[in-house]
């Protein structure tokens, strides 16, 4: 019988595993762990199918699934340090996917990550590779310096929406347009998380943030910026895609995209960017378990999931589905 092992003191009690479980195996215990969080346990172990959905959605690498002698593993490219992210924040999921891609391609010992300012400012504590801090918005410039100086390295940036789409927009456009041979992981959670929930360039129309307390007013702040669609207009970049991490299925698709984005770099293909729609339960004022639905209902229609450009096929949907509805507004 499959087993779900919860590393109790890593858990932040977000409950994502409980709602992701298709057979309702897990339930929240009424005890608290060392951090003061309730944590899940197997209430109905007999129902477990070993599907690993709980492992996939866990943002804190706190869950291990054992099935037929095989165990889920934490990638080597992650350190053992617990993430500082808020309960239910999907940064942790994305970190794991990036680390899995690095392990999967066997490039850990030649990878350099660039962590900028934002919630992921401490990413250098979590990735078990050489890491370089960047100032706010400049991650791609720093990555350019590393990669141009040492072309044999695999260089990635891990940036949020304020960093990449606001203060670092010039660096984004120009690194993409020069075709820097780097991999960019762009975490879009439609808000400034670290500074406490201010409006981001990707905040949705009407979405409340601490600097737009009545909701984003598009007559004052404009519409949210769609980065991959902007970059699509450039001839140079090779791989532009958008994924999400709010469901097990989406996470699996994201894993494939992120691995591709690294693989292209190992093959010498220029500039890959994966935009990852991510949740910010704290900034959004929602329960972690409600955040995935909010993302699905509000972000996905505006930020369509899928490849926008690939090295094999070029630009994929030059007149996108979302395009008309927006101009009509």
């Amino acid at each position: 019988m499959p087993t779900v092992n919860v590393e109790r003191d890593r858990c932040k009690g977000c409950g994502l595993c409980i709602s992701a479980c298709p057979t309702h195996v897990l339930a929240m215990s009424d005890e608290i762990n060392a951090k003061g969080y309730f944590y899940p346990y197997m209430e109905h172990p007999e129902e477990c199918t070993g599907c690993r959905f709980c492992f996939l959605v866990c943002p804190d690498t706190a869950i291990e699934v054992e099935n037929k002698g095989k165990k889920t593993e934490i990638p080597e490219a992650l350190t053992e340090k617990p993430f500082h992210y808020c309960p239910g924040c999907t940064h942790g999921v994305i970190h794991r996917l990036v680390a899995e891609a690095i392990d999967g391609l066997g490039i850990r010992e030649k990878t350099v990550g660039v962590a900028p300012v934002g919630c992921s400012v401490l990413a250098y504590d979590y990735f078990n590779v050489d890491m370089h801090e960047a100032s706010h918005g400049r991650a791609m410039a720093v990555a350019t310096g590393v990669k141009r100086g040492r072309p044999e390295l695999i260089v990635f940036t891990y940036q949020g929406d304020g960093d990449l789409a606001s203060i670092g927009m010039a660096e984004t456009i120009h690194a993409a347009n020069r075709g820097e041979k780097i991999t960019v992981i762009f975490v879009n959670n439609a808000i400034y998380g670290m500074t406490g929930g201010q409006m981001a360039p990707t905040t949705m129309p009407g979405q409340v943030a601490t600097t737009c307390p009545l909701g984003r007013d598009t007559s004052l702040a404009g519409f949210p910026i769609r980065i991959v669609e902007i970059l699509r207009e450039l001839t140079t970049p090779a791989y532009l895609t958008r994924v999400a991490v709010h469901t097990p299925k989406a996470i699996n698709a994201a894993r494939i995209a992120i691995k591709k984005a690294f693989k292209y770099q190992t093959e010498g293909t220029c500039f890959s960017l994966v935009e990852v729609l991510s949740t910010c339960p704290t900034g959004w004022g929602l329960q972690p378990t409600e955040s995935g639905d909010w993302l699905e209902q509000n972000m996905v229609p505006y930020y369509p999931i899928g490849d926008v450009k690939t090295p094999e096929k070029g630009v994929l949907w030059p007149t996108a589905q979302g395009q008309q509805s927006e101009t009509a507004r």
């Binding site: 050489d130 370089h132 801090e133 410039a141 350019t144 310096g145 040492r150 044999e152």
Partner: protein, 354 residues
């Protein structure tokens, strides 16, 4: 190697190549465009890389990345562009990265003008970016010295893991003089940088970082930096004196281009009633205060000449500590003082003392 007639900007570029630098990131701005232009043609010839960045902000952060990856790397710019680079300079000082920045100064503040100036002295020597940090600042006064100091700049940057500024002005950059490159270093012969982000094969990951969220940790990091700066102060002060043997009536203190103009003035006054000497700091930080005082002690009065409204004069006064009268003469906005003006100032000072 035979002497070559070269523009200051080109000599700076070639000296960097001779110092084993194979990476240049920059953004065009007058009056230093000959440096990026030279590097864009020269670096590919030696297997190097030139990138014209989208801005000075980006260029300096590219330096940050490349220096972190352990590469000898440089940029050049002029005053307003250097202001934009200050973000990364602070980060590089904080994360202790060796990097060489050339500032061919022009007049400010604001957009200012494009003619020679020395009004970025404060910016270079007193900070410029945020935080408690120091950069070694070298001020050449000839094209040959600009070339020589580039080699020293890379060497000292690596030695101390610290940003180094080479502070010139439009005159040094645009002027042609004979120059000889005395040494040539191949990048592969440079000492290894085991702290750099080169991939963690066979070791624990390296992290290039200036973030210390715990106050005590950041304080300790700052004391560590200060100990390094004290070491630099102890070892790196450089200066030159001219016509000061046996003391003089008036000691002119000037650096870079102005030191040359003062030298002409001194030559023209030789044999006259007033004996004039020159003290020329080559390092602006650390400032050769003790050497200046030793020279000034045997002097009647001190005259500081700058192409600014009075910046280095503050360090001169700090070195002299009120023990001798210190006066200031400056031209600014791109106006270059003539030797006559220096002579007039000296005569006025000497006359007043009679």
């Amino acid at each position: 190697m035979a002497k070559k007639l070269m523009k200051g900007c080109e000599a700076i570029g070639e000296a960097a190549v001779k110092a084993g630098c194979r990476l240049f990131f920059g953004y065009p701005i007058t009056p230093q465009n000959e440096i990026p232009e030279y590097m864009s043609a020269r670096l590919p010839q030696v297997g190097g890389t030139f990138v014209q960045a989208e801005s000075e902000v980006a260029a300096s952060n590219m330096l940050y990345g490349a220096a972190g990856a352990g590469c000898r790397v440089m940029t050049s710019s002029s005053s307003p562009g250097i202001s934009l680079m200050m973000e990364a300079v602070s980060y590089m000082a904080g994360s202790e990265l060796p990097v060489v920045l050339v500032n061919i100064m022009r007049g400010g503040p604001g957009l200012g003008g494009i003619l020679p100036s020395q009004s970025d002295y404060f910016q270079a020597t007193k900070g410029g970016g945020h935080g408690d940090y120091r950069c070694l600042v070298l001020a050449p006064s000839t094209v040959q010295e600009a070339a020589d100091l580039m080699g020293l700049a890379f060497d000292r940057a690596d030695h101390y893991r610290n940003p180094v500024f080479v502070l010139g002005d439009g005159l040094i950059g645009q002027m042609m003089e004979p120059v000889e490159f005395k040494t040539e270093i191949r990048p592969e012969d440079l000492p290894a940088k085991p702290w750099a982000t080169t991939g963690c094969k066979g070791r624990q990951p390296n992290i290039i970082n200036s973030l210390y969220l715990a106050a005590e940790q950041l304080e300790e990091h700052n004391w560590h930096l200060q100990r390094k700066y004290a070491e630099i102060e102890k070892n790196e002060k450089r200066w030159e004196t001219y016509n000061t043997e046996g003391g003089c009536d008036v000691l002119v203190v000037a650096y870079g281009t102005v030191a040359r103009i003062a030298r002409t003035a001194i030559d023209e006054m030789k044999g006259g009633p007033v004996k004039v000497g020159l003290f020329r700091p080559i390092t602006l930080w650390p400032y050769p205060s003790e050497a200046l005082w030793e020279t000034a002690e045997k002097t009647g009065k001190v005259l500081t000449c700058e192409l600014s409204c009075g910046q280095m004069v503050e360090d001169v006064r700090y070195a002299i500590m009120g023990r001798k009268p210190v006066t200031f003469y400056g031209r600014t906005g791109g106006v270059v003082m003539a030797p006559d003006e220096v002579i007039a100032q000296v005569n006025q000072l000497a006359g007043a003392s009679v």
